[in-house]
């Protein structure tokens, strides 16, 4: 009897211990990211993730938002549309994030965007440049420029700065990004008076591009525009040189990866592409970011890392604004699923969306970011030249969208120390002033070449 009583008390006390109201679970705000952490575009996803991580850490070391830490949930989509759909569904249903960040590849952002839109979850694509992405709905944003602008920038650069008149285009038949960028380039370039001598396609993942290249080279182009992703571009560049092609190679931001020069070796050196920022930019925001990124990850951040960082920063500033309201802050940190919390979470997400539409002159690493009525970012692009060392580019010129003023304090001329002389500086007629990247006035000395 005694023993059983003792047992009873023991059990009771055990019970009481368990039932005691535990210290309230530390609330956190969950952000979802999906990206290609493996697969042929793995550096895209990894760089983006690193950039987002850096921004998240920054906020968390400052004490988080409204006393709550930010937590990233990352899913790998392997760079495949089918995996993207399941990765995003998984994040949305399992983690109930307040917002989503991703993807780089436009095709994949286009896969995920309807899912985010239908669940009313704000999604920011750091670097999908195809215009269709944000057209999916009013919850879809981006912090990069779009392909019509990028295509225009590189076409003007080719025509005005490089005096190229005949260009061949080789685009990836499986990619929305590549198709769109190729088309916008062609429109601007022919509009300026140039000729597209050939327009051929390849399938992403192929190893042999000689058939298309033989055909393209036979038409005698002065430049080949390859709006593709780095692995394919590296191979194409190499095989073009093997076929004794000596002209220019041009591209878009899909070239931006340390893998480009590893695959393409000497063949890609001297190629030009449009990018989101330049590591040469003396702007302290940029240099500070590069320093911290390099300390943490041991390599220079590429454009995608910078955009990941900016996307996260823009999102966190919106969340911070929303969290100023205590009721909203509570909703942001509550991930339980009852009709009431679902409703308040929906309101919080809508408030974040609303805040995002008002982002203006946000001082990002990739320049000043203003979200326009179509939820796209208005910002400059830079043209860079590929150098021999993997992931190293030389800044050539910055291109500003119509209506956006170039900084006036920046030094004139695109010549940068430590690199080959760039082509003829843009003549006065070009709407592309040759100045360093970054919309913020960049005082200080002429940027030095990359190390």
């Amino acid at each position: 009897m005694r023993t059983s009583a003792a047992l009873f008390f023991l059990a009771l006390s055990g019970c009481a211990g368990g039932g005691e109201p535990a210290a309230p679970e530390a609330k956190e705000i969950v952000i979802g990211q999906y990206g290609s952490l493996t697969g042929p575009e793995a550096t895209f996803g990894i760089s983006t993730k690193n950039g987002i991580e850096l921004a998240t850490e920054e906020v968390n070391t400052r004490g988080g938002i409204a006393g709550m830490k930010l937590r990233m949930v990352v899913e790998d989509d392997q760079g495949k549309p089918e995996e993207t759909a399941s990765a995003v569904s998984k994040i949305l249903s399992r983690d109930r994030p307040v917002a989503l960040l991703g993807e780089v590849a436009s095709t994949l952002s286009l896969t995920a965007a309807p899912l985010a839109q239908n669940s009313s979850v704000p999604m920011i694509s750091p670097s999908s440049t195809n215009p269709k992405v944000t057209e999916v709905g009013d919850y879809i944003f981006r912090v990069c420029f779009i392909d019509p602008f990028q295509g225009t920038a590189i076409a003007k650069f080719a025509y005005n700065s490089k005096n190229v008149r005949k260009v061949a285009i080789l685009k990836d038949v499986k990619s929305d990004y590549s198709q769109g960028l190729g088309q916008f380039f062609a429109e601007t370039f022919t509009g300026l008076g140039g000729t597209i001598v050939a327009e051929e396609a390849y399938a992403k993942g192929d190893l042999d591009f000689k058939a298309q290249l033989t055909k393209v080279i036979a038409t005698g182009p002065e430049a080949i525009f390859i709006p593709g992703y780095y692995t394919d571009v590296g191979l194409i560049a190499k095989q073009a040189r093997q076929l004794n092609y000596t002209g220019l190679l041009l591209g878009g931001d899909g070239w931006d990866s340390v893998e480009l020069a590893k695959v393409g070796e000497d063949a890609v050196v001297g190629g030009f592409f449009t990018n989101h920022y330049s590591t040469d930019d003396p702007n302290p925001t940029v240099q500070d970011f590069i320093k911290r990124y390099q300390a943490k990850y041991g390599q220079k951040p590429d454009g995608l890392a910078a955009l990941g960082y900016d996307a996260a920063k823009v999102l966190y500033s919106a969340i911070e604004g929303v969290a100023a309201d205590p009721a909203m802050a509570a909703a942001l940190g509550d991930r339980s699923s009852t009709p009431a919390t679902e409703e308040s979470r929906k309101k919080a997400r809508a408030a974040i969306r609303e805040r995002l539409t008002h982002i203006a002159d946000f001082n990002g690493v990739t320049g000043s970011i203003s979200i326009d009525a179509n939820r796209n970012a208005q910002k400059p692009a830079v043209v860079v030249e590929v150098l021999r060392d993997a992931g190293q580019y030389r800044f050539v010129e910055a291109v500003y969208p119509d209506g956006m003023k170039a900084p006036t304090a920046a030094p004139a001329g695109g010549t940068v120390e430590g690199g080959a002389t760039p082509g003829a500086p843009a003549p006065g007629g070009a709407s592309a002033p040759t100045e360093p990247a970054g919309a913020a006035p960049a005082p200080g000395p002429t940027p030095t070449g990359t190390k």
């Binding site: 493996t38 697969g39 042929p40 575009e41 793995a42 038949v173 051929e200 396609a201 390849y202 399938a203 993942g205 192929d206 190893l207 042999d208 000689k210 058939a211 298309q212 033989t214 055909k215 080279i217 036979a218 692995t231 590296g234 191979l235 190499k238 093997q242 076929l243 004794n244 893998e259 590893k262 695959v263 070796e265």
Partner: protein, 299 residues
């Protein structure tokens, strides 16, 4: 004209690779009536084994003819062992079950190897230059590269070697007997299991050679290179008449050249659609492929 010749060279070197891989499909089909979908992945593994061998043995820093031969033979040996292991573990236990089960197992093995490759090797790797490269330009616009010549040379000598094995050796005779009728061959005292193992090994050796040639020339290898490469080679085998060794060679070269010419003269956007369209037309006219044996299904 020079453009046409250039495209022909492009097509031949592409076709040689398809032909080498197609041989593996066709030989296995000949003996087992199985489409070994994991064959493309054996080819992929061959490329990575060659890469790691080249790194470990120091051939990367110090290329030499024996070194390159060692890398090539090592990759071949590894793939032979891999091919036999796949057959022993995945296909042999199912040999008595329905054709569909074994086919699905083959797809499973293929996916397993591909994802394992992604895990072990990463998404992409670059293959160093261990075979010196030169090129000649006999006419303006016509480039002949040493790698193309090596690819064709190695392919043709392997095919002659294969022909010798199949036609002139006892094992080759046994292979032909098994492909004619497995049961009868078994009754005649032919060790069917060993012959099938040998067939897998032989096919895998050729796939490894193809992988080496691709890696040497393109310098980029990926765990998913076997998926499309394997599919195209399978198509080549069907085109030539699956089960027929000369058919696989013919099919491989035909597919390579037709793909190149479609890209070069028609529309590169529809390359695969047109190349596969040709396949469908050929199969409509000759259901058993170009050189396939016409067999009447016994009921």
């Amino acid at each position: 004209m020079t453009v046409f010749l250039q495209q022909l060279i492009n097509g031949l070197s592409l076709g040689a690779i398809y032909a080498l891989i197609a041989l593996g499909y066709t030989m296995v089909y000949g003996t087992l009536q199985l489409i070994n979908f994991a064959h493309g992945e054996v080819y992929m593994v061959g490329a990575f084994v060659a890469l790691y061998l080249a790194r470990w043995t120091g051939v990367v820093d110090n290329p030499s003819i024996p070194g390159v031969a060692l890398v090539l033979l090592g990759a071949m040996a590894f793939c032979a062992a891999l091919g036999m292991t796949i057959e022993r573990l995945a296909y042999r236990p199912l040999r008595k079950s329905t054709r569909l089960n074994i086919l699905i197992t083959a797809i499973g093995v293929s996916l397993l190897l591909q994802n394992l490759g992604l895990l072990l090797f990463g998404p992409i790797d670059t293959f160093p230059t261990i075979v010196p490269e030169t090129q000649w330009e006999p006419m303006v616009g016509l480039v002949i590269r040493s790698n193309d010549l090596i690819t064709l040379g190695v392919t043709l000598s392997l095919m002659l070697g294969l022909r010798h094995i199949v036609e002139k050796t006892q094992m080759g005779r046994a292979m032909r007997a098994v492909s004619h009728s497995r049961d009868t061959a078994a009754m005649m005292g032919i060790p069917v299991d060993r012959v099938i193992s040998f067939t897998f090994a032989l096919g895998s050796v050729l796939a490894a050679a193809a992988a080496f040639l691709v890696a040497m020339d393109k310098h980029v290898i990926k765990p998913d290179m076997g998926a499309m490469g394997g599919l195209k080679a399978f198509v080549a085998a069907v085109l030539g008449g699956i089960g027929s060794i000369p058919g696989a060679v013919l099919g491989g070269f035909m597919l390579g050249i037709s793909e190149t010419l479609v890209s070069g003269y028609l529309a590169s956007t529809y390359r695969d659609a047109i190349a596969f369209g040709i396949l469908i037309i050929v199969l409509l006219v000759r259901p058993s492929g170009l050189l396939g044996r016409h067999t009447v299904e016994k009921v």
